[in-house]
């Protein structure tokens, strides 16, 4: 972003990469897929790079409102400083926080999740998608809580998957009834409380029951949890866990 400004350019959209997308090895691949798609359709975008900082989502869900608001206000300062208008995020948690919780603290932007952006690009004809490697494959979609129930977006990822000519098999609990992957509410960063099962194992079991070859999702945390689940059942060689953005990038040989 800083470089854009130095060159006197104003990017159309800011890509908010998120902490997972920046640091987690698996999630970085999602980041790259999103970048490939943005480049492919010639959208002028920028990232904040080292100036990006955690949105504060995990702190807020864990009850640390101070830390959340500190993070929020710093980020809002940065974003407002660059006069950012439109943001695409690679993570439903960043999406939810910036879209819903930043406005009250002075950060008002038009925020979309990457699956929504991809759907817009397809709808407007800027992005053409053919099935490619996914044609006829059995796919199931795991709804990230903060995209689905949290913000009511169930259709965008499904529309995209259908464009791939794949066979979308829903899990027993999907859309409004979707079952959490087990990472939300800051669970990602701690051991689970005592119980008789891990949440991600329960969810992966359900996904595997659909006989899916690909478990698709739209969240780097869900990605981690579902991959761990697939490993738990020793199905890594048969079942892939992919972000919808990666599927589009692969199908288009980007």
């Amino acid at each position: 972003m800083a470089e854009c400004v130095a060159r006197g350019e104003e990017p159309e959209i800011l890509f908010w990469v998120g902490c997972s997308g920046s640091f987690d090895d698996r999630a970085k691949k999602i980041t790259k897929a999103i970048v490939k798609i943005l480049n492919h359709v010639n959208i002028k975008f920028a990232v904040l790079g080292p100036e990006e900082s955690c949105t504060g989502d995990p702190a807020k869900r864990a009850g640390n409102e101070f830390l959340f608001q500190m993070q929020a206000m710093q980020n809002i300062n940065t974003l407002n400083g660059y006069n950012v208008k439109k943001i695409v995020t690679g993570c439903p948690h960043c999406f939810n926080t910036i879209k819903n919780e930043y406005p009250g603290l002075g950060g008002k932007y038009q925020v979309v999740h990457h699956t929504q952006l991809i759907q817009q690009l397809i709808d407007s004809g800027k992005l053409k998608v053919e099935g490619g490697a996914f044609k006829g494959k059995k796919i199931t979609f795991h709804d990230p809580c903060y995209l689905g129930r949290g913000n009511g977006e169930y259709e965008a990822p499904r529309t995209i998957i259908q464009k791939l000519d794949a066979e979308l098999n829903e899990m027993k609990r999907s859309r409004e009834k979707g079952f959490c992957c087990g990472a939300g509410g800051a669970q990602m960063f701690k051991e689970a409380e005592k119980g008789n099962k891990e949440v991600n194992v329960e969810r992966t079991e359900e996904a595997l029951e659909t006989n899916a070859e690909v478990i698709a999702t739209g969240c780097p945390f869900c990605m981690t949890m579902m991959r761990d689940g697939v490993k738990h059942f020793e199905k890594e060689s048969k079942v892939q866990v992919l972000d919808v953005a990666e599927m589009i990038a692969q199908a288009n040989d980007l």
Partner: protein
Amino acid sequence: MISSIIFIILLASASYLFYKNISKIRRNILLGKDIDRKDNPKQRWETMAMIALGQKKMVVRPVAGILHIIVYAGFIIINIEVLEIIIDGIFGTHRVFSFAGVLYNFLIGSFEILALGVALGCAIFLIRRNIIKLKRFASKDLDGWPRSDANYILITEILLMTAFLFMNGSDSILQSRGEAHYIQAGSFPVSSMLSPILSGLTNETLIFIERFCWWFHLVGILAFLNYLPYSKHLHILFAFPVTYFSNLKPKGEFQNLETVTNEVKLMLDPSLTPPPPPETPLKFGVKDVFDLTWKQLLDAYSCTECGRCTSVCPANQTGKLLSPRKILMDTRDRITEVGKNIDTNNGTFADDGKTLLGSYITEEELWACNTCNACTEACPVNLDPLSIIVDMRQYLVMEQSSAPAALNSMFTNIENNGAPWQFSPSDRLNWASED
């Protein structure tokens, strides 16, 4: 004459008692902090019409949903009959609405069919709870009073409906025998089926049965009304206000604490002049019912204890201690206890050494939540146990610094590195150069 007087006394005292108890609940709810839920009245009325009146979320589970609609609609509509009972009772008349002729016959006929539906519905509900033992009703959340409460309600409804049908059955036979006072009125599609049992009886016995059932119906309804304040059945009334005051924002959006905003602004910009220190020291998060909002307390009184929330809760379904239903039930138990405390101490609360967080709800429950909103989505009356969970986490973190160690390191990482893990901010762009 005597019976009219007894009737009026009963009616007046039952209404007064109900008014008194509801006023106490209202006072208890208003112990909560303020929250603005008056915006968008149009959308609020619509929500109430869809969710409370229209039972939109009940039918997500079709069997329970449809049975519930029959019981609910039947119960409400049959209460038009209670209006007649009241007028008859006061003036000593009999079937005062019968001047409506054909319409009256139609109404009484349909009440009978509904009454049968209500009785059958309640019977199936009893079977689901006590014989099939559906998981959400067998849960330990309901051990003790809550389980009996549900059964009492169902049994009472069946008894009320039976009394209604026996009253009509006797009445119709007395009508056909031309007994004085029993004018020809009404149609009796269901209760006429009772005639094999009733037709052998003398007029005196039938009059006794008819009068007994009439009084039973009336006293039953009045008793039921006064039972509501102690029961989860309060939801038949509170479902309306509580859905009106629903959270209309996206479920993912959690409220920003204004008190924190002010402090954070000061920290980031020391040039601002701090406001005068508040009279009571600032306290963050929720420890006891006084720290909750009135909406959260209203939620607690409105909970139907149906357990739909808990049955979809990922934490609960994988064996963790957390149950969103229990969070609301605990809250109601505690606010009831606080209310009683205030009553016995002449209007002020005397410290009883207990708090909602600690005495009722444990930290282990709170930390198991995924903030996934499955509970709020599943709740048929739009209640929000999640907000109570997060508010209590705020107390644990900001007042007591007692988050699990792993979360404390996550906090430290965010503070120091701007990421929940120990990575340096300068490495944020590394992905762009890696292959």
